[in-house]
Symmetry: C2
Subunit: 379 residues, 2 copies
């Protein structure tokens, strides 16, 4: 194997596939990054038990020569520091070639690295994704769906199914749901080419989707999504991203969402966020992040938090609208903050059904997103 | 006590004095920040066993009203999160007032914090700095002196005196020296008003000087320095910064510096830095950071590093000048990197006295700075 490659493009793609490589890989070969040189370009592959990523760097991009392959071949190199090594090389191009015994020479200007490689035949194959449910998504929409749900997955391993995000497809609409059983985030969107797709119990690890989001640019390019029994494949122009699915039944979240309400409030999202952030400043060392909310007539909400040894915070937030009964409720302020940070609207509406019932928050001007929170009992 | 203050200036000064406040204070009162309101402004004080900082916020700055004191008084408030609380308040001014029992109300717009305060009479007094050696330094020069020496102090507590930076004044020149016994950094500078100053065994904790550097802006304003038996005081326009001195005798470092040399090399500092940084990439997990250097004729240096299980790096750096014997030496590359990062000159000269002798690196165009390194035995 011998090729010359543009350093910046090489670095970018190494960083992409490195997202799939764990520093604590169970098989030594999986701590490596596989490089294969073809006549028409170079592929890089990284994999762990959950995620596999393959990036293809074509020989030419537009009218610019990116890779010049002198001799095709393959090698697996330790992924650790590999991106750093390439990034710090002195020139704008890098030459990669294999000597005897898999020792790989990486050279650029006055700098030369000789790295011990591993046998590429030992590297596991990419998952086989047979025909499955298929649809398309714009990249920026996919990133929004991930950002607006992934924060709500459970981080506890007691119910592994809750560490994933549930995807269901109904009548051409993709519905994404995440919950840790104390709060729930739901976001839906119309998708293209969904006539062929109909599935209801697909649970993708939250971590997989977060890693995917990091390597995607905020473009309107289309991503092909293929869902099978145990894998999901995201395919963009030059990247294949595979994730395994989680086994098990996801809870029936639809039944959890209250359909009536006793108090409806509309407030400015940024002001509510700032008030709750300040209310949590004194309780930051505590574990429950409890914030108390009380309506003051129909014009204001009072938000308070008390940490006896430190002091008390009192905040007032004006209501844009208020309908229904007087209100007094306590909740985990951090969960509300997480949701407010991904709601992009100016105003939010909150629907309460009593001090001991879950309550709903939505953007005031959109109905494709919903956040549900359990109250906290404080007496 | 009751006053109204500009929020941004309050935050900035809280952050300054917080540098002296340890979250693990031995006395509870020292985890607090002391606020005293006078008719002409507000002072903030923070202190631990090593450092005390007092910042004065004058009522007026130019023709701008900064503080409006309605009623003088004093309080000590928990420093933890205090800067965060003030920073996150909604309006540009903050009102601070004491109610009964030291409870202090901090309000701004629709936000109100009631914080439990402590008795200000329990707060320790600032060190008394009687007359001592006095001189002046420009702020930017002081920051340079600290930056160019503080990195070389010892972090091990086995020889506490080496965790400090030695300051000596001779004939109007201040000489700053730091060493961890494997490398040494020395920087000297002419100072103003040094006729009265003459001292030779002043050792200031490296941490104190690093904290001081963080709260100083890069200006040409003058700082007054007063050195006594056990304290040093840095006095800028509105800040007093006290640090205790370290007890004990600092090693006689002058004798360590070789006066002759067998090989003199001049190279581009940035290229040498980049080559050594790359050479260390493979050994990052190792502990010794050993780099080997060899002269290739009189035109090039070869820098290599080997980590048997990973691979080998070979770098070449062109010599601008080379005089003397052929050279082969090994050293801790990280120490050289630290020094190269604070040398602001384009070229450095290195003087070697043999593979087993300490060697000297200096900026090629300045003689006010010197770095000394021990070689590493590799066989």
């Amino acid at each position: 194997m011998k090729f010359t490659i543009q350093r910046d493009i090489f670095v970018q793609n190494i960083q992409h596939v490195s997202k799939a490589i764990s520093s604590r890989a169970t098989m030594p070969i999986l701590s490596g990054l596989k490089i294969v040189a073809f006549d028409d370009g170079v592929t890089l592959t990284g994999s762990d038990s959950d995620i596999s990523i393959e990036a293809f760097i074509p020989a030419e991009e537009g009218d610019k020569q990116v890779v010049d392959v002198e001799k095709p071949g393959a090698i697996v190199l330790q992924a650790k520091y590999f991106a750093d090594i390439i990034k710090k090389l002195p020139e704008s191009t890098v030459e990669v070639s294999i000597n005897d015994q898999n020792v790989t020479k990486i050279s650029s200007g006055s700098s030369e690295f000789n790295l011990n490689g591993l046998d590429p035949d030992e590297f596991p194959r990419l998952p086989e994704v047979e025909e499955g449910n298929k649809f398309q998504l714009k990249t920026d929409l996919l990133k929004a769906l991930i950002k607006q749900t992934a924060f709500a997955v459970s981080t506890a391993e007691t119910r592994p199914i809750l560490t994933g995000i549930h995807w269901g497809m109904e009548e051409g609409r993709l519905m994404c749901t995440a919950t840790d059983s104390h709060r729930l985030a739901m976001r839906e969107a119309a998708v293209e080419g969904a006539e062929e797709a109909d599935f209801s119990n697909v649970v993708i690890p939250g971590k997989s989707l977060s890693e995917l989001s990091k390597i995607l640019d905020d473009t309107e390019d289309t991503i092909d999504v293929t869902v099978t029994n145990n894998q999901v494949l995201f395919k963009s122009k030059n990247i294949l991203f595979f994730s395994r699915l989680l086994d098990g039944n996801y809870p029936a979240t639809k039944n959890m969402i209250p359909t009536n309400s006793k108090t409806n409030v509309q407030v400015d999202a940024k002001k509510l966020l700032a008030a709750i952030e300040r209310a949590l400043l004194l309780s930051r060392d505590g574990k429950n992040n409890v914030v108390n909310l009380k309506s003051l007539g129909e014009t204001k909400l009072e938000i308070t938090s008390v940490t006896p040894e430190v002091g008390k915070v009192t905040e007032e937030v004006a209501c844009d609208q208020f309908e229904g009964e007087e209100l007094r409720i306590s909740f985990n302020g951090k969960n509300i903050i997480d949701a407010l940070r991904v709601i992009e609207s100016t105003d939010v509406t909150i629907q309460f059904t009593g001090a001991m019932s879950p309550f709903i928050m939505r953007p005031a001007d959109r109905d494709y997103m919903l956040h549900l929170f359990s109250p906290v009992r404080t007496y």
